[in-house]
Symmetry: C2
Subunit: 282 residues, 2 copies
């Protein structure tokens, strides 16, 4: 059975040993509740490194007060078995006392990028993400860290942090893994009722409709977001939080769609908030 | 002549090579304008590590708008020669474009600790310090970093950051080096006129008076700060910014002085702000 380590000194020692042996260290930071998307990130890390650490930690400081921290799915044993099956070498699963002991007060922030898209409705969310990721980077000291493209804004914020703070880590993005009907895999999909689940593929359908418009030569952002809105509005259970088209690096709004534009949406289906995105490659 | 490197990739490569050779890396972060205090830190780093990097960088983001960024003394060549003479192996001296390129937006903050003592009159100062130190740590990846005890609050804030963010770096403190008349060495002492310089030893005299009281059995903070104030007030050119007695780790006010209390003062002599401190060891 794969080793599950919660102690910081112990995981650090193990990573140091492997690094000294000349192995390249990979890190896949996760909050657990694995689906095929997570497992693809583990396999991706294995292609690029020799010793893959999967961290499993539901990071409280990236959840808002009214968010789903308490109900977020946790299943460490099942996750560890899946990680092992897909080739991970060790699981790092600390607890809150280890990560944020009494009196904890240090934070890493990226200004600007987090103020759009998800950051607008989730103040403090990205500060929580960059802080925990910094801690994991300092503990594991990976050569490569793999994140999912589904959290596109998170990926941009982490890339910016790594660049600005001179972290010597290669940030790699794993593409979005989808259910057969197009729904992006997410640990939060399990919150959906049967009826809601049937509606959920509309997120990707709306993005595909936008893509089709763009391939047909449309580049104006209002026209494209209008198309996305009209597709989403057809699904009667959904409530749109945002539809945004931005530069994927700067996360700043653009007027006309071109190569590297990120189309990102957040939609509520009942009490469940789902996100999806595509990057335009024209 | 000692090598002066400004390029991040180049210094990183050199440190990586030495680390792979099994050498322990030491870092002495400075803003240059070396005096005997800096040189003692270099020698201290040499005792503990095999390859000592001295960084020289006047970090703009730790200066307030009305502070002495422009007039801060700079003399890279002389500093590099001194560093070499005292055993340093390389000087890292980046410029602002390298450290804070256009669009820079990531910061490391420690909450709480920076809000007392110097932090009160220098908002943003410690955010600038923790950010630049994080960057230097990520570039150099030292085993040991040496800071001066003279900047006592800076030292506490950095120790807290290293602890909270799980940086695997030993933070070492070099004791305050003083002129024969007791004045703590500081790059800012050169701002003083002859008359001001004659008054300046009053800072240390006031701390020694406090120490004598404590050694005589006085533990009440008001009585001790009162004694310091009366000594400082005897020097007619001085204006007191703060006299504070705090727990050295938490930087929180205490009621009675005991082992590990930090007595810290900041005093203006004309346009020059000087700080000094002692830690009580009873």
């Amino acid at each position: 059975m794969i080793k599950i380590i919660s102690d910081i000194s112990e995981i650090r020692r193990l990573c140091d040993e492997n690094r000294l042996d000349g192995k390249r260290i990979g890190l896949v930071p996760t909050m657990g509740a694995f689906h095929a998307g997570h497992l693809s990130l583990i396999r991706r890390a294995l292609e690029k490194t020799d010793f893959v650490v999967v961290s499993i930690y539901v990071n409280p400081i990236q959840f808002g007060n009214n968010e789903d921290l308490d109900s977020y799915p946790r299943n460490l044993t099942a996750d560890a078995l899946l990680a092992e099956k897909h080739g991970a070498h060790v699981v790092f699963a600390p607890n809150d006392e280890i990560m944020y002991p009494d009196g904890y007060s240090s934070y890493v922030t990226v200004e600007g990028l987090p103020d759009v898209l998800c950051g607008r409705s989730r103040p403090g969310h990205f500060r929580g993400v960059t802080t925990v990721v910094s801690k994991l980077f300092n503990i594991i000291r990976p050569h490569v860290a793999v994140f999912g493209q589904k959290d596109a804004q998170q990926l941009s914020v982490i890339r910016k942090m790594v660049h600005d703070l001179n972290m010597d880590i290669d940030i790699d993005a794993g593409k979005i893994i989808r259910e057969p009907d197009g729904l992006a895999m997410s640990s939060r999909n399990q919150y959906l009722t049967g009826e809601q689940r049937e509606q959920a593929p509309v997120l990707y359908k709306s993005l595909l409709a936008a893509k089709k418009l763009i391939e047909g030569g449309v580049i104006g952002v209002p026209e494209i977001t209008g198309e996305i809105k009209s597709v989403l509005d057809n699904a009667f259970l959904t409530e749109i939080e945002y539809i945004e088209i931005v530069d994927v690096e700067k996360m700043s709004p653009i007027e006309n769609v071109s190569q590297g534009a990120l189309i990102a949406i957040a939609v509520w289906i009942g009490e469940t908030r789902l996100i999806d995105n595509i990057i335009i490659d024209v």
